[in-house]
Amino acid sequence: MAEYETHDYDVVVIGAGGAGLRAAIEASAMGVKTALVCKSLLGKAHTVMAEGGIAAAMGNVWKEDNWKVHFRDTMRGGKLLNNWRMAQLHAQEAPDRVLELEEWGALFDRTKDGLILQRDFGGHRYARLAHVGDRTGLEMIRTLQNHAVHRGIDVFMECTLYRLLTEDGAVSGAFGYWRQSGKLVLFRAKAIVLATGGVGKAWKITSNSWEYTGDGHGMALDAGADLIDMEMTQFHPTGMVWPTSVRGILVTEGVRGDGGTLKNSKDERFMFRYVPDFFRGETADTEEEADRWYEDKRNNRRTPDLLPRDEVARAINAEVKAGRGSPHGGVFLDIASRRSSDYIQRRLPSMYHQFMELADVDITKTAMEVGPTLHYIMGGVRVDADSTQSTVPGLFAAGEVAAGMHGANRLGGNSLSDLLVFGRRAGLYAAEYAKRVAKMPRLDDRQVDTAATGMLAPFERTEGENPYAVHSDLTETMHELVGIIRTRAELEEAITRIGRLRERAQRVGVKGSRVYNPGWHLALDLLTMLTVSEAVAMAALMRQESRGGHTRDDFPKPDPEWGKRNVVVRRRDRQLVLKSEPLPEVPAELRPLIGEDKPTGKVALEPVAAASAKE
């Protein structure tokens, strides 16, 4: 029996990005004993990298804006696969959550009359994103971090939780290890909030950091919870493509929001050729109208450069495949020809700095080279919209690890607001749940033992394969076979390869001690990434249509029947089991807000025919 330390808490929040911090603040405010556990140092989570802003219909720039328009944009951006109730709560509560950050010390950029300034972003009808230049995430995480510190919440930094424990089907704790010492640690808890983010590290080109290994997705599956929409992965259209070593690093959508346009090697603004019927009514069809829109938004329709991310990513992919890409396999993003050097450096200081330092490119003079990068997963833990509780009692989920809010595609800016709205709700309902649980759950020694043995097993295999090699092969597999455009044959091949990779992953070895050993950490993360990758590939194989972040070359159109269903993934008897189940139906009174009932006509694979979009 391995040694471990034990901590007792009413609520344990796993992950300290925006959702985790907001959940912990709320739970602690409810008066329950709260722990915040995170893999990195506090303040370094993925939220810190968010650039463009927080979407909230505050109406500071456009009086016409309100929650109903935000709800509509979110639902249409998500190709109507969203959980309508989550989209409604999000649109209604986001403004209060932003103003709350201001009460805690955040300083957003201002309008001329002293209110929070809002910027344009893809898929949002009105300028709606509260922001601080292009470093909004930093402002948000630091504000939440300071507020949490002053509340006296217990923070466990550089601590990885790896398995959930259950008792009679309800959550009872979590087990993991301290990264610094390698010692094992057990949390007994009445309620647990997963706020662990996504799984981008399973792909080769990604904007995500080492932390994004799908921990929450994997732990939830193991504990018996349902996942939905796992096939819905978001490729952000604009990642850096050169130099090789920075490939995938994010270029904010704010560049396009603030006037940047996409061009191909023939200097054509190609996005005009990729406007799907679903968005035609609200999108400019000439360059002249799009140009006028920057100055007069009332009388012109928005530029197609600001279509939702799934549309733009597919369009860039198609241009590059058609031989009209930039020298390093992307397209051009040009803001220099519309905006002054001063404006660019003031509005986009991080982007200016990032390109200058890492690519020797002055974005105030030359166009950037950009291409799609795996950025976000819409799929995740199936939750109750109001309480964020999963299908396992006592287990809650908020932020990227939860699913439903964004449907088939997330709009830019809707993530930071999602973290705040549902982070708060998760903390609130987890605390209420914990208060209803009479006493600390019992420990199941067997579960703890099994987890400990599995975690320490790689040390028994000092001669095993290097986990980095297996991880590298996984990222190649996901990139090649589960990318922007998918086919049945490739997805089947991916599932086969993931099976073989799992056999290798179970034989990897670790050298050195348990003290801060990244090889060991990766050996464990690898198993989680393989499980979650398999869920993505299997869900993608099941959904025989194209919608949002899921494009099937062999089923290039949206299918109205599939538009009414979620793909559900569960773990039963160690196997992943998939099923399609009906979406919650939008109530009659909200339906008129959304506009036409369903996406119509062609997806943006055309006019470059679907067949030629893939080699």
Partner: protein
Amino acid sequence: MTAADVSLSVWRGDANGGAFVEYTVPADEGMVVLDVVHRIQATHAPDLAVRWNCKAGKCGSCSAEINGHPKLMCMTRMNTFGPGEEITVSPVKTFPVVKDLVTDVSFNYEKAKTIPAFKPKPKEADGTRRMYQEDIERVQEFHKCIECFLCQDVCHVIRDHEENKPSFSGPRYFVRLAALEMHPLDTNDRIDLARAKHGLGYCNITKCCTDVCPEDIHITDNAIIPLKERIVSRTYDPIAWALRRMRGKPADFGAGEPEPPSA
């Protein structure tokens, strides 16, 4: 080693000591030091300990000393070194080593807890918060801080003087104090505390912190010197002194004048 290879000497060890180990790995276009460290992990030393997150200068995790200079590994391009130049990477010196390039930075998180929280004044009559861009810009400069702690690492008050740590919070927290003090909405008073508890008096404005800040925050000129000026006008202004005596408000938080730094 071929022309397409790069070499890096990385400090390997723990609290009990260690040494530089040279590694050679294949080069890629545009590599930064952190890329080389990652390639070493993947090919030679999977147990090489290093912190990182964003790889784009936004999170402040990958601080280290490169050829002795405090820098972010993710923002240090390999092509800034001459061909054949020896490149060393070692952990930041001011904090205790955990393993390899990872240090125990809990000093900073403990100091953060001692700064009184933001406390806003009441809202406007219409329920809004009105602030103008020109009034918040100087605080926004301080909010750019990514907490890489390079300013803490380079500060000679604590870099070579462990004994000063209990009474000196360091440049990062002077920036935080300045951000709160100059926040248009804040009503808490931290001026006496800055001197008595955080040791602002130890700083003799050598600007080493400003020089290493990857966010180009003018730590000395815009944060430390204005705080020092506020302390001076508060503590040594005879009228203010007389008023305090009359009202019976203590001049500080009981810590008295800070001891002169041992530097």
